[in-house]
Symmetry: C2
Subunit: 598 residues, 2 copies
Amino acid sequence: MLSYKAPLRDMRFVREELLDFPGLYASLPGYEEFTPELINQVLGEAARFCEDVLAPLYRSGDEEGCTWTPEGVKTPAGFAEAYRKYVDGGWAALSSSQDDGGQGLPASVGLFLEDMMGTANWAWAMYPGLSHGAVRTLKTHGSAEEKATYLGKLVSGEWTGTMCLTESHCGSDLGQLRTRAEPRADGSYAITGTKIFISSGDHDLAENIIHIVLARLPDAPPGTKGISLFLVPKKLPQPDGTLLANTLACGAIEHKMGINGSATCVMNFDGATGFIIGEPNRGLHHMFTFMNAARLGTAMQGLAACELSWQGARDYAFERLQGRSLAGAKNPSGPADPLIVHPNIRKLLLTQRAFAEGSRAFLYWLCRQVDTMDRSPDAAARKQAEDLMALLTPVGKAFVTEVGYEAANLGMQVLGGHGYVRANGMEQIVRDTRIALLYEGTSAIQALDLLGRKVMGTGGALLKSYQEHIEAFCVAQDGREDMAAFVQALRATGARLEGLTWKIAESAMKNAEEADAAAFEYLMILGYLVLAHMWAWMARVAADALAAGSTETEFYAAKIETARFYFQRVLPRTESLAICVEAGGASITAIPQNHFAA
Amino acid sequence: MLSYKAPLRDMRFVREELLDFPGLYASLPGYEEFTPELINQVLGEAARFCEDVLAPLYRSGDEEGCTWTPEGVKTPAGFAEAYRKYVDGGWAALSSSQDDGGQGLPASVGLFLEDMMGTANWAWAMYPGLSHGAVRTLKTHGSAEEKATYLGKLVSGEWTGTMCLTESHCGSDLGQLRTRAEPRADGSYAITGTKIFISSGDHDLAENIIHIVLARLPDAPPGTKGISLFLVPKKLPQPDGTLLANTLACGAIEHKMGINGSATCVMNFDGATGFIIGEPNRGLHHMFTFMNAARLGTAMQGLAACELSWQGARDYAFERLQGRSLAGAKNPSGPADPLIVHPNIRKLLLTQRAFAEGSRAFLYWLCRQVDTMDRSPDAAARKQAEDLMALLTPVGKAFVTEVGYEAANLGMQVLGGHGYVRANGMEQIVRDTRIALLYEGTSAIQALDLLGRKVMGTGGALLKSYQEHIEAFCVAQDGREDMAAFVQALRATGARLEGLTWKIAESAMKNAEEADAAAFEYLMILGYLVLAHMWAWMARVAADALAAGSTETEFYAAKIETARFYFQRVLPRTESLAICVEAGGASITAIPQNHFAA
């Protein structure tokens, strides 16, 4: 039976020893008080909440799922109570600004909390997770009155938020959307249309739900330039403090492969009262604030899958006795050796571990950029953080969810047939995390964003800046015998990627489709490079700790061993991806459409 | 909504134009009458049965699942009726010998039928599927009396069969099994023990179920050399023709990730009456007959996943309008272009197609070996077929199910968020086919069988024989400009594999664990090579057909285009796998066990 234990030691390693969050907080105005002791205490309590309250609802939430009723959606038993504890414990408000009633901790700390909540129970964590985007959007683009009415309750968690983009005929292609917003004399709008795939669209965790809805004004131009953003509450706050039902409802919930505890709703807006957020026809632009945060949040789902499946598979591999080591019995007094003695099992586990700990380092490093963008007094530092985020958010979203799905599948594989049985919890990770490759933009959409907008669209500037970052790391390892192999592979992979970038740029000038044909492989290569950088860096920190006489020899040795495994048995995947990109897109693009039907 | 259409044209291409089954049947004693016309007629009718009777139960069977009751397991609505049609239509007996009451068609035709049934509804197809192994085992090792009593009813499908191997503490490691068989004075045995993961262990499709059970005699030596095989009927046939309940029962069914329509049973044998099959303590050896057939059957599940998900994704990509082609609008009068215009979507589809049609060619080619082994009067031909089967059955099982799972996931990806919704059927393919990587020996177990027993264990002889087969194909393309790139890549990949084989052999002599650390990658490289051979061969046949003036230009052109795609964008995966193998196993094997817990 799977049971989540927050990897507090590894999280502390990444925060304090690798990424120097203590130094970062000390340098950011308003964050100086957040000492490592305080942060460790907060996250230690958060870990207990996740382990004791959320993890026990992981299996039961999946089995029971959500239920649609005419009165609204019912969440699985225990979900509402856990949510109450979350709000009462102040967790919802943890990283919101004190001006808005929050506790004012850094955004990164909120994300570390999301990591743990999501790993303990992703389906549950989606309810509060979506509210953050609504808060960010309102805070950035909302009117003073909108903020006064809605922000505080969203920050406290008393109310929750959604984002309503998708319609049945359009997902990635939002230009086609049809939901209408008719202006009314009082300055409000009548919103009419049907949205699908609305996570947390209805539920019984909170008194009110604030929908952030994309819709078209009557005079809007066609396509993406005619989309505006609206705030549409489930219940309208009245001057006397009471709430009046709006004309909207959840018409149905989807029956899905996984995340069954999360309500995925069809939302019918029937002339519902809404309020415009920001400028007319600038909705998609305003939504981007929301979407970058949502992508980082979704990347966390990949990390969650890596971590939970690694924990489950590792524990099983120590307990399950099956077969004998080819190098001689390791458990001679028992009926068989534990699975962990078998190289093929170790390979699965090491791949999971490399993805789990490597992705944590990568995403926490992105969290560092978020804090820097939020608070650094240094404009150049903010700009650099922004550039790194722009380049690497699509990589975090697509790459980490792809390897998260792989890790979850490897974890099932360790359990053999027992991995396929629902009660053991491992197959649920696969089902739950499968959605992460689809929502918030599929992996292919992220790849196009990376290659088209972020790499080609900046003339390679963002990529160059990131590669300089890696090169600086390489230079800093000069004279370190133990780091030589890592540095060499980092430089070789970086050079390979640069060569591909030029090649794609050249061919895309002749045929724009070449970029799309190369984009996914390109993104994956960059993802493997990022993780290689993280693993080399972790190996360096671990080697230094051992050299300094640390007694945690197993912990640090495992870091160096996992880094070596990653470089020898995972990073080489980039070579095949590169060969595929080099082949060009003709074998894909030149086929007449009707041949696909032949 | 997914609806299976049997790809009769492609199946005919593979059977008649690629693999010359008509020539094979004409050369095998007793098969001369099976003309292409007759086979096409039989398979055409089979296709209608699969499309009209089995496919409509695909979704409903998953939603309803099986139900345990004290009276026995209930299968989903419609399953029993479909099974009755299957038996009444003579499909169960199709490829069994006429001596046993079968229709005497070649084993290959039975496998083509299994392909279609499994693609239409894998969960349903498991009920009849398991009977074939029981028939084969009984026929080869059963006594005259056992055959007289059980064979006819198993062949007709009136009764079904199971294989009872796994116990809760042992799956791959059968040496640990504990189920006991106590001899009785009348020559029968009292079987006592609990088996788990027994597919079709109980159900309401047939009047009786014949369990083939592994158990230990009282004086049996420990480990795998003390296992015997028993026939244990659910109901014991009495001299008067009635059936008497045996002392065994299904204690529970598993709740699983998928194949919910297939009952996976915990079977309790409580001094149940059984009869020994073959010699005492030779049970595992006798079971191998069963297991090779079962592995080829499981490989078919990979093919089924490729085909069904390719059909679903392709249809969706033609219908769904989303975005505009980067090369200019292709559907200017519509609100958007169909998905099929986008290179990233085409890449997913082409990968699915390459795996579907390539795996069909590969597995049908294995079916050809089965027929040859069964019937060829030429001892050398039989030996060659046996060798090819020995080498490539584990590859078929592991590689085709791995790429089947990939194809199913790519199919979901084409549908975006809609792929995650159960009603659309695409996520069910992923859930259903996931088990194929686990049962009948995990992919890692197959890889060890391949590398340890089949390659190293024969001193490379089996591999050499297969490589000569590919080389003969390459030589036959001499002077063909259009085949040059394919031939070059085939030879390069073959040489790479050979080099790895020597390298692994050398390092495994020093450390046996090196083979296990390399085995999975090695198997995958061989799998990609086999598919490359199939695709080059298909391209050759297609080019010849076009040169000969065929009017099916789209069909044949698509074959050549898919071959080109496979060689340019899929086969290069072997390079990364090879680099990983070359790195050796030290980064996996040298890590102290306790570091995994650190």
